[in-house]
């Protein structure tokens, strides 16, 4: 069973790598950020699958950290792409 789970992790990683082609193609910054978002979600799935395959429980904490970082990355992207000052973005969009 561990082999299947590790293989599934490899498959998801391959799909994430396929999605990263969007970073090369663009065209907009938002498209590139979406591929980075995909890396976050896919990375969580890979970490969880590897945790179950290897039996190392601490890998679940890696997935938890990735989930948190992906959220902050998107907020930082929004802050840099808009000229919104620090604080509540409100309804300026």
């Amino acid at each position: 069973m561990a082999e299947f789970l590790a293989g599934a992790a490899g498959f998801v990683l391959l799909m994430v790598a396929l999605g990263l082609i969007r970073i090369l193609r663009g065209p907009g910054d938002a498209d590139r950020m979406m591929a980075a978002q995909l890396l976050g979600t896919g990375g969580i799935a890979v970490a969880l699958l590897l945790s179950a395959a290897t039996g190392i429980g601490a890998t679940v904490d890696v997935a938890l950290t990735l989930a948190l970082l992906a959220a902050f990355a998107s907020v930082a992207f929004f802050k840099s792409a808009t000229d919104a000052p620090a604080g509540d973005a409100g309804d300026r969009g």
Binding site: V16, G19, R22, A30, L38, T41, G42, A45, A52, A71
Partner: protein, 96 residues
């Protein structure tokens, strides 16, 4: 192969299929908003199916709750992030 193993194979396999769908959608859809639609829905469904498939394999209730908590955190983060990314995409290409 036990029933638990079969459940894991089916759920994780379905999750992998949704990751495939998400990546293909991200590459093939024509504009930013449709790509966002493919990414945020398909990938979080794939992650949810992977978590569902791994649930019977964890030891203890706490481990299962932790997996579900990670999925919920990913859902919340993705929901908020997709709103922000859509706002940036719309500002770059304003609707006519």
């Amino acid at each position: 192969m036990s029933l638990v193993d079969l459940f894991t194979v089916v759920a994780v396999g379905a999750g992998g299929f949704f990751f495939l769908a998400g990546s293909v959608g991200l590459l093939r859809f024509p504009d930013a908003l449709t790509r966002l639609h493919a990414l945020t829905k398909a990938d979080n469904l794939g992650l949810g199916l992977v978590v569902l498939g791994l649930l019977p394999r964890v030891d203890g209730v706490l481990g299962g709750l932790k997996l579900i908590a990670i999925w919920l955190l990913a859902l919340l983060a993705s929901g908020a992030a997709s709103q922000l990314i859509a706002r940036v995409a719309r500002r770059a290409n304003p609707p006519a």
